[in-house]
Subunit: 400 residues, 2 copies
């Protein structure tokens, strides 16, 4: 289970802030282990560190990494993955990294800004939860109208088998999570700080109740505090849902950052209208007017947006089936084929993206996809590869 690469990813989740651009770039070009070694070099010799990076990037990018190396080096004592894994174990949490089975495919949309690792509490599988998730977000200072709308939309999508994804905060987030719990449906909360601390304190019981069928996750290790900047970077993981609905938000409020992250990830954004006389709806109206969000008034409206992304066979309003939730695993003739199959994802994608997701070269991906096609596990539709699951209900519809 513990490999040097996996430990290095866990170390990066402890050493660098989430989505730190210099860190994301560094691990992208060097890989996590060499990147960690580079930080040790840089803490002793900036010049040598610069020279080591010179082949990889323009000088400005190298300079940014050298500049940032100081703050990473200051946390090198936190780079021991075992320490964090023990802390996690103490609160019943586990860790996932980019190289693990069960890493959420939805993070592919984040590109290099994907988390280094995910720290997880709860019985739900993050990959399956994310793949079937609708993010319902909004203001902490919600109105009773906003709370009603959040609960109505969350219950509506939960009833149809979707996971309600939010940030666990007071106001809209809480109303959405509680509605999912009331439907006995899984819900997923993404924390800005470590999962040892169910934050905010007033929502401890609610968040603890999520653990039974859903999960509480974070990209920083247990013990890390919910700093302000971590709320903003955390929002991009909420935005990795199949669709994001902003229920209430004041103009220029922080609640809008999730919507902008979702738009940046080319994922559907919805907003709920409200009275013009309510400042709590002004941000929603801004999103609609600017064309960032689609106006929605019902769970059906939201699922119509989410389903626009789905592959054929999953367009009946039910969520797509993530790999982690599929009943029977196909037989693969090589690890490359397995990785390529996972890389296709439930919605299908291009050879380039399969290669990127699977960590294969383009040539390796082409060979693996050809093998999957011969084995009847994948098929090509123009530039897009799609899975042909051995038992999935989507297979008949898509071959008809």
């Amino acid at each position: 289970m513990s490999t040097p690469t996996r430990d290095a990813w866990l170390a990066w989740s402890a050493v660098a802030e989430p989505s730190d651009p210099a860190a994301c770039w560094l691990v992208e070009v060097l890989g996590p282990e060499a990147a960690l070694a580079w930080v040790r070099t840089a803490s002793e010799d900036h010049f040598e560190a610069s020279v080591a990076l010179a082949p990889y990037a323009p000088p400005a990018q190298v300079e940014a990494a050298v500049q940032a190396s100081g703050k990473w080096a200051a946390r090198l004592d936190a780079a021991d993955a075992q320490v964090h894994l023990e802390r996690a174990d103490a609160v019943g949490a586990r860790a996932l990294t980019r190289v693990d089975q069960g890493w959420p495919e939805m993070f592919a949309h984040l590109g290099p800004a994907a988390p280094f690792a995910l720290w997880v509490r709860g019985n739900g599988e993050p990959a399956a939860l994310w793949a079937s998730s609708i993010a319902v977000v909004g203001a902490r200072a919600s109105t009773s109208y906003g709370d009603y709308m959040a609960a109505m939309l969350a219950a509506g999508v939960a009833d149809r088998g979707w996971t309600v994804l939010s940030g666990g905060a007071y106001g809209i987030d809480g109303a959405a999570h509680r509605a999912a719990l009331a439907c006995d449906a899984p819900s997923l909360a993404v924390m800005a700080g470590g999962v040892d601390r169910l934050y905010p304190a007033g929502h401890q019981d609610m968040l603890a109740a999520l653990l039974d069928r859903g999960a509480v996750v974070s990209e920083v290790p247990p013990g890390y505090a919910p700093h302000r900047s971590r709320f903003l970077t955390r929002n991009r993981l909420i935005a990795a849902a199949s669709a994001t609905v902003v229920v209430e938000a004041a103009s220029r409020s922080g609640s809008l950052s999730t919507a902008r992250h979702a738009a940046h990830q080319h994922r559907p954004v919805a907003a709920v209208p409200g009275p013009v006389t309510s400042a709590s709806s002004a941000g929603c109206h801004d999103l609609i007017r600017e064309g960032v969000a689609t106006l929605v008034t019902s769970p059906e409206d939201v699922l119509e947006l989410a389903s626009a992304l789905d592959a054929p066979g999953a367009t009946d309003g039910a969520p797509p089936q993530g790999s982690a939730s599929s009943g029977s695993a196909p037989d693969f003739s090589s690890p490359q084929e397995r990785a390529a199959y996972d890389g296709i994802g439930p919605r299908g994608t291009t050879t380039d993206t399969v290669a990127y997701r699977a960590g294969l070269t383009i040539a390796e991906a082409q060979v693996a996809l050809g093998g999957l096609e011969l084995a009847g596990l994948a098929r090509r539709e123009g530039p897009v590869w799609r899975r042909k699951p051995p038992l999935g209900r989507g297979s008949l519809a898509s071959e008809g």
Copy 2:
């Protein structure tokens, strides 16, 4: 003042229902006088009437006119213009036809479905009122939220010099008119029935108050009742405003027809969001979701839409200056030049449209526009002709 052509237009406003497609086609191809004579023929001999129209249209169109001729012939006793003019005079009303100075240029967007005539009460000039108008419309069964939003938006545009245009009805219409009155600003009400009867009865005092600076108008003569179908056709004249705002409307309600008319005329449509829990806002949400309307929350939002249509020099939020309201009239060297100048309109247009509006052939319009250009009264911007008013504040800006 009374000419055979003018009398014929007045007769058509009494003989045919507003925007009757067969009547609009007939007066388009034959002119109003010959069209009236044709109805007299048709009332005696359908075959001869069909033969007379044969050169003009496909058989189906001719057949439709012959079919419709019966109901027009049944009203031939109403074709005496003098009778209607006397009735109008008795209530202080006057008439405008397509051939009169002061005919609203905004009706050009209606094409052949423009009114045959307009019956007018009040001190305001319809051309100037329409050219600077914002339509504020919505449900009769409005909520207090809707009434507030109608008044807020109407007062906001009235304060900036725009005319509030509506239908005089209970609910949203009344709230908009009253706000304009409270701002001591002109307002224009378009009635479905004759202007002798200020309808509905409960709004008599309000509508009478509009007459001082604005006007109450109708395309049917005094004495004609506000039939249900006339409300729907009346809405296209409200939609001829610079922009139309729907404040509150239930799904599939009649209040939405004005919005659809405006969209059909390629004029901006705005809608005010409201609580999803209010059925009175559902139609507005439909319009926004379908992309028919832009979400607006303030008078500035509405004027931004209206101003997108304006010529340079009128983009500061103030309404465009209609010909009827301009201070000093230019000197024209021919009636064709005057007609072409009027045909250009405050916003500028192509040679074809000038010809259409001015009742000139393309060749005549080209000669007249060339004369205006030499006289410094018009200029060409690519395919678009624009006025160069002798004293208008727009002239400096556009020549700079």
